[in-house]
Symmetry: D2
């Protein structure tokens, strides 16, 4: 980001095409199709194609001859049942294809999810632009975060899912964690080092190639190092890009792990944007996933034992209050019963 005029024109040309189809179509997703949705300082996610919708899950679960859906409340109930009981195969019946631009160190975390298809831009064949990630680049360009937020608002009618990132200090207690935020001189110097060393690396990259990214030869008397070798001086904050295709079940698994607080901020920025895309695409699935796997908690056997010990028998004995509590949560009687059974209250 920003896209070149040629890239913008290619995207607009593809957005302008429209055909009739008998396949299930999701209007909310069509609206953002092919658009570059900004993430971090130069990254983006573009939705390139999708297959299936909420109804396709019902259809597959029922091995149906037609759409398989009945009415909204029944469909919602079935999707929630499948999600709660980890009947994962129907969710594999939807698929999405994305074009993602992301720093190499984020790509290295991302690629660990193996059940996806990937085509990455090759630095063996092609030249890498001088684009790299700098955390808290707002030190350098105060208008940037603002522009990102405006774009997000325009496309999704809501602000970006994560606040802009500051320069995190190393946590003292937790080797993996980020601690507080770097301030003052130390922060300024860190941003400066990352920025200037990245610039410097790209200059050396071009020098080794004996060629500018623009195509201009630097010294006609030199051969230039092979592209696949010259790129080895570029740091892992440089951007790469790929096409990435995945089924909905595995995408949700990815989102469960990568929106977690333990995930690194930079991949969370992508994962959080993906959550919004999933919400547009399959709203019933998203709601169920959110309820059962994002906002809930797992208790171990001993933990469950302890929990039973902690429960207030008196309060549990009052059926009216229990029913009131259940209604307040929006849980269905069946979900409630399953929870009570887990807590050892089966009556």
């Amino acid at each position: 980001m920003p896209l070149t005029p040629e890239q913008t024109a290619e995207i607009e040309a593809q957005r302008a095409d429209s055909s009739a189809t008998r396949r299930p179509t999701v209007a909310a997703l069509e609206k953002v199709l092919y658009q570059a949705l900004p993430v971090l300082d130069h990254g983006f996610i573009r939705v390139i194609d999708y297959l299936g919708d909420d109804a396709a899950i019902i259809q597959a679960a029922r091995v149906s001859y037609g759409k398989g859906t009945r009415k909204l409340s029944t469909d919602r109930g079935l999707i929630r049942y499948l999600m709660r009981h980890r009947h994962t195969t129907p969710f594999e019946m939807c698929e999405i294809k994305l074009h993602v631009k992301l720093p190499i160190f984020v790509a290295r975390q991302w690629i660990r999810h193996r059940t996806a298809n990937v085509n990455e831009y090759s630095a063996r064949y092609s030249l890498l632009e001088n684009e790299f990630y700098v955390p808290d680049r707002d030190y350098l360009d105060s208008r940037r975060a603002e522009r990102r937020a405006e774009r997000q608002l325009e496309l999704f009618d809501r602000p970006p899912p994560l606040p802009p990132e500051h320069l995190a200090a190393q946590s003292r207690g937790n080797r993996q964690g980020r601690g507080g935020t770097l301030r003052g001189d130390e922060a300024e110097e860190a941003v400066h080092i990352i920025h200037s060393e990245s610039e410097r690396a790209h200059t050396h990259y071009e020098k080794l190639l004996n060629e500018k990214v623009s195509g201009e030869v630097i010294d006609p008397d030199r051969q230039g190092l092979a592209r696949e070798l010259a790129r080895m001086v570029l740091p892992v904050n440089f951007y790469t890009q790929w096409y990435w295709k995945i089924d909905l079940y595995n995408l949700l698994h990815f989102l469960g792990l990568r929106t977690d607080d333990h995930a690194q901020y930079e991949i969370r920025a992508y994962a959080n944007l993906l959550c919004e895309i999933v919400e547009k695409w399959v709203p019933l699935v998203w709601e169920a996933f959110n309820d059962f796997h994002r906002t809930g908690a797992d208790f171990s056997g001993p933990g469950l034992e302890a929990l039973r010990g902690l429960l207030d028998d008196a309060k549990l004995a009052d059926a009216d209050k229990l029913e009131e509590l259940r209604k307040g949560t929006g849980m269905s009687p069946r979900e409630w019963r399953e929870m009570m059974e887990a807590l050892g209250r089966e009556d």
Copy 2:
């Protein structure tokens, strides 16, 4: 097959729906979407959904901002290059979803292809119809094969890919192979046994359930055996059905193995129909796959050595004749050069 009126109505309802989409659309595939394409005596394949087309492969291979395609001859050349050099990842960028009805013993071979998504009709929840496969059922119903052929002609403008199957005898020389064809009494008796024993098994299935497939209870004083147990008396020629979703690369791999002469006739019947579906969907990919992986051959190192010994030096020395031969095959100069290099003729 034949479908019930309810099933036909559901299919027609879904075929009647049409929406506008910005996604790539393949008219030839839309034409058969949702239709039950007949295979064997009761089976079918229905195309439920698809993602991508020939151009989507180019687009992914180029990690493109737009469609990625240039002109037909360039695109065809790139697809052939990718296919020839086993650059498999761009082919994974297309996906297809099918509804398949097939005998259990065919399903057991089919499911061995692991890189696909499956939702199977459950005989633990639901009752199995009295539908089973009988090879050479034309003994029983001479109009059947004819009707299948008519349907095929109507949908694909060509006759069925495989001739109707006769009752194969066990090969004497090859433990896996089929030998000649059973004739006369032996054939008639075999068809009779398979047919009548299958009918009998279904009767016992309903008796164990204490329930007809129609829902009618047989003996109100009995409980009926659990469905998951009663089904165990049904033989493996009974039909099951599933939704099956797979990417194009893995589908081609499946077709390579399952259209091979060593594959059992019954699964080949499905695989051959799938070839026609793939040809409609991605004609350039199909042509390349056919040329490079279906009609070609692999030679081992020692085989290649022998081949070099067999070649006629005189004939190879005549450049004009060689060029004429090349043109006759339709091979591109690059393909030709690669072959000659493999044969040790690099000049």
Copy 3:
């Protein structure tokens, strides 16, 4: 089961071989290596090979140059941490290979787990023995269950993990479920039907083949139907067998699903035996898996909210009682803290 004398001799020959190795070795698993551990009426599981042990998980998690382990309590703590936080990759660093004999309908459920390697006995090449599963076969042979229990005791020092199965009736309320147990006439007739129809099917199988399983030709003037076709009259309670290899993470996933109450009794019989094998192989992993994924429960976001409402503030306020409760469960302070945070009590 029972094995032929030739099979027993082959197994004993392999058990007699012993070599020195530098690889990690698990004595408790070596003890049962290659032995046929009985399941159901004719099935078995044989452990053929394994790779890694509890320490191999530590080693991989630490990307260690040596064993990676420190002391038992530290190692146990790390394994529990990895299990609790779903850091799954280190558990993939152990692998096990089994030889399993199982009814076809169980094999069809089993094979749905795709991340495993399989080689199945081929009924296209080879003949299938007259061996089939009959639930509650004790009606027919009262000594059988007893012999199985003795064998189990001998190999594992404990009784079989599941009680022998009775003939389950179809549940009225739950279409998938088993209800009560068939009794009296209905039960006797069900066993009789399953048994006699299976015998009959095998007789017809041999007749179609024109060959007994023993190799004897039935009618020298006939050709016999191809094996791959004749087998189609055999019902799905016939036994097949395969080699199956899987990593520990995916095995645990399999066990989580297949020991669940919702799984069919017959596959649970295999899964429960596998649990005992895993316990011998990697006792620390087994303990952690059991605590965190088998005996625990997942609560949804709304459920968690309700749970917070149910908790007795007074009881929670008494730090001494809380600490006593924690100790009673055997939970580590860290596990306890994580649970309390999930319950919204972070102080």
Copy 4:
């Protein structure tokens, strides 16, 4: 490389352990178990564990109760048959686990092979040493390649599989290819840039961390940037390491692609060493793979047609000469027949 004394001691301690096992054991592989086999300037491959051997493939293909093997020539024939006809599942029944140290840009190519298990050293938790790859490092240290060659000779009784690499120039004709070799000033400068810029990057990495890799704090008044952020200035020629586990079939697939001339030199250096490891482990499989998939060639349908046109009928008509030719290649009559059939000579 070189290992620290602590690492060497850990490796030696593990090599000293030996246990008795009933599992198949491969003496040639035990000999190098745990040893660091050098690759490139700082990399290595260590074999950590393995499961199965040549015989295990036979055993699985036969779904055997014992070892499954008969005599060497029969076993060799079966393995060649399975390899030739792409019966891949028995080869999945062997597994190997490696500890690999490799530059990040090599790791990024390697990880694209998805059917493997990986645990990578985490730069979010731990510090990265100042170790990076410099092609043609012999400019800097002339003894290095020599020491590597000696080590290779000691462990494998043969010289390294690939000659040391020079600095390749970018090919003019082929965007992916390496062309000639950089010489003189240009070469010297390239090595100098890669070396000095990598050193510089590590210095900035420590500065951002406010901590030396040794653990020494640089400025007690500063907090230091989080590890997961500071590492982003390190270029992709820095070394990472991982545990990597894969089955034999997928390993062969990896080797087929990564020993190919089109693969980048640096990953070929690893792949070629792996070939030697595979040869020690499963010599019959290695021989078959080499004959059928490494030294052979695939011909397309049109290519096959051309080939038939090129063949000298006269020469083919002389049965004695043909038989002599066959014997010279070492091909079995069956392999020969299959090739002749592919060439349209079935008599």
